[in-house]
């Protein structure tokens, strides 16, 4: 229990009056001190009992897309003595906003309960609620007691997802399960793969009559098997690649792209893993399905920019995490010094697709329009084109994404340009 400033003020006045009365031998001054004395004795008369509160917090749903509301319910129950005046305040983690205040001020009798309900909205992130700060007062405001009541809960605000259409990849190695990725092996499928002479047991409907007529023997059509593949998504979270403009972060767009691609590849039945490469490496082990989708999105919700001497270069990307000859998707604005590592990945057999948010267009909005800005943009564009050209020569597929347009539009432009990554 602590005394308040008000108690200190009254006690000081009381002490001064008593001292003055004793000093001047004035009994009336001592009599004047009596009301102040009673005020300063209140904390000893009405001792504040330790509050015993049970607070339960529930957040539904526990994960939402960015900007979507979620409902938080807080149930407060007094399991101790009567409390004349308590102030309970929930310190919301930064980034979350409540439409209603999650605070309670008032009395709580023994066994009495209160329920606070409100709507929360937030930006991308994983939020841990700790508890409530409790401030207990006596009614005259002479003493108070501070406490903390634990009420843990977790809320994940997931990155917003974009539509991704018809993105076809062709890693050298696929897995055994049926999926949508061409496996470069003949078998059951729908895409034409080749022909061979008929052998006993081949289905009659696969006979290629035209080829048979030409070669005067029975020819069977072969189809390419379509299977699922391993896809490793690498999100570049190095501070060096970050650009902020008008309070908006380019990294947020990268996260959005990574989330959309992960969602797309998982919906196609592929095995997807996620590596966030920044201050440290956060690895989400590859997996399939909805559970893996939730894991990846929560991991992306937590993604933050970071800086580390070891991870400042892409060359420490741990290739052992990704199955050999699988597909790697790097989401990064790209630095010039990243080229060797991407070439290396391609050289050791990985198929590499780079989704590169266009930082030049993003940053241009910050600068005043003029000749110098245009010139600077042209130079930066030329450098970036040279970088892309180096990568394309090394058979690394690059998609430049203007973040003001939807991701699938950039993908479509890639299709129009006949990019190899799409053609497979």
């Amino acid at each position: 229990m602590n005394m308040t400033w008000s108690w200190l003020l009254v006690t000081s006045l009381c002490s001064i009056l008593i001292l003055a009365g004793l000093l001047f031998g004035n009994g009336a001054l001592l009599a004047l001190a009596v009301p102040y004395l009673l005020f300063s004795l209140i904390p000893f008369w009405r001792n504040l009992k330790e509050p015993i509160l049970a607070i339960e917090r529930s957040v539904e749903p526990s994960s939402v897309q960015g900007g979507q509301p979620c409902r938080m319910t807080v149930f407060i129950e007094n399991r101790g003595d009567d409390l004349e005046e308590v102030f309970l305040a929930d310190a919301l983690p930064p980034g979350l906003k409540a439409e209603e205040s999650f605070a309670y001020h008032g009395g709580l009798r023994c066994g009495q309960s209160k329920t606070l309900v409100g709507v929360l909205r937030g930006v991308r992130g994983k939020y841990e609620f700790s508890g409530f700060k409790l401030l207990q007062h006596d009614l005259l405001g002479m003493c108070q007691r501070e406490a903390f009541v634990s009420a843990p809960a977790t809320l994940a605000v997931l990155p917003a997802l974009e539509r991704v259409e018809r993105l076809r990849i062709s890693p050298r190695r696929t897995r055994i399960y049926t999926g949508s990725i061409r496996s470069r092996e003949s078998g059951a499928g729908v895409e034409f793969f080749g022909t061979r002479p008929y052998v006993s047991g081949d289905p009659m409907r696969h006979l290629n009559w035209k080829a048979g007529a030409r070669w005067d023997l029975l020819i069977t059509n072969l189809f390419e098997q379509e299977r699922v593949a391993d896809v490793g998504i690498v999100l570049d979270a190095r501070k060096a690649v970050e650009v902020r403009a008008n309070g908006e972060s380019l990294f947020e767009h990268s996260v959005r792209a990574a989330a959309s691609l992960a969602d797309y590849f998982l919906s196609q039945g592929n095995r997807v893993g996620l590596l966030i490469y920044g201050r440290m490496m956060e690895w989400t082990f590859p997996g399939y399905g909805q559970a893996q989708r939730a894991r990846v999105l929560v991991s992306l919700a937590k993604a933050e920019l970071g800086e580390h001497a070891v991870f400042s270069e892409l060359e420490h990307l741990p290739t052992c995490l990704f199955p050999s000859e699988s597909q790697i998707v790097l989401v990064s604005p790209l630095l010039r010094r990243d080229v060797p590592m991407l070439r290396y990945l391609r050289a050791v057999g990985y198929r590499v697709l780079v989704i590169s948010p266009d930082w030049i267009a993003f940053e241009k909005s910050l600068l005043p329009p003029g000749t110098f800005t245009d010139l600077a943009e042209r130079i930066a564009r030329m450098e970036r084109e040279a970088l892309f050209s180096k990568l394309r020569r090394a058979h690394v597929n690059v998609v430049e994404w203007d973040v003001t347009t939807p991701l699938h539009v950039s993908m479509k432009q890639g299709i129009a340009g006949g990019k190899r990554w799409f053609l497979g």
Binding site: L9, N26, A28, L32, V34, P35, L38, N47, L140, G141
Partner: protein, 166 residues
């Protein structure tokens, strides 16, 4: 209810300060009394400066009451000035925490501060009467003293009972 108690007690402080004028304290009493009135009039000021003013007014009123007694002024008037100042100050403190207090809480608060002030003032009055600071028949002073003593004993025993049961 509490806002009006606070306003009335602040007004009472002003009136008591102006009453000091009758005893020859014209200058300081008028200034401090006017400050008390200004406090009532401007209670819609920003909360921080308002709470700062509230504490300063209590200090000023107490200082003036002590000065009044020390310089041979009417001690009873000074004691009631201290009582009304404490009531107004604590009422302001209560209203700062409770923007819209429930009626039950207001009653509880008023009962508690009422007992406290009644006890303090009666003890002070009886002490002054016994010192002969003003004319009160001895038996009346003894009665007031006994009443306040009984109230005090009751409160003490209640507090002891509560602490034992806790």
């Amino acid at each position: 209810m509490v806002p009006w108690v606070k306003r009335l007690s602040a007004l009472a402080s002003s009136v008591l300060l102006f009453a000091f004028v009758l005893y020859g304290y014209s200058g300081i009493a008028l200034v401090v009394g006017t400050l008390n009135l200004l406090w009532i009039v401007n209670e819609r000021w920003a909360r921080r400066s308002y709470s700062f003013l509230r504490s300063w007014i209590l200090v000023l009123n107490t200082a003036f009451a002590a000065y009044g007694i020390w310089s041979g002024g009417p001690p009873l008037l000074a004691l009631f000035l201290a009582g009304s100042s404490l009531l107004a100050w604590n009422g302001g403190l209560f209203l700062e925490r409770w923007s819209d207090p429930p009626v039950a809480v207001q009653y509880l608060y008023l009962r508690r501060i009422g007992i406290l002030l009644a006890l303090g003032l009666s003890a002070g009055v009886s002490a002054l009467a016994l010192q002969g600071s003003f004319r009160l028949p001895f038996f009346a002073a003894l009665l007031v003293l006994l009443a306040s003593g009984m109230l005090w004993l009751r409160l003490i025993s209640k507090a002891i009972r509560r602490s034992d049961s806790g």
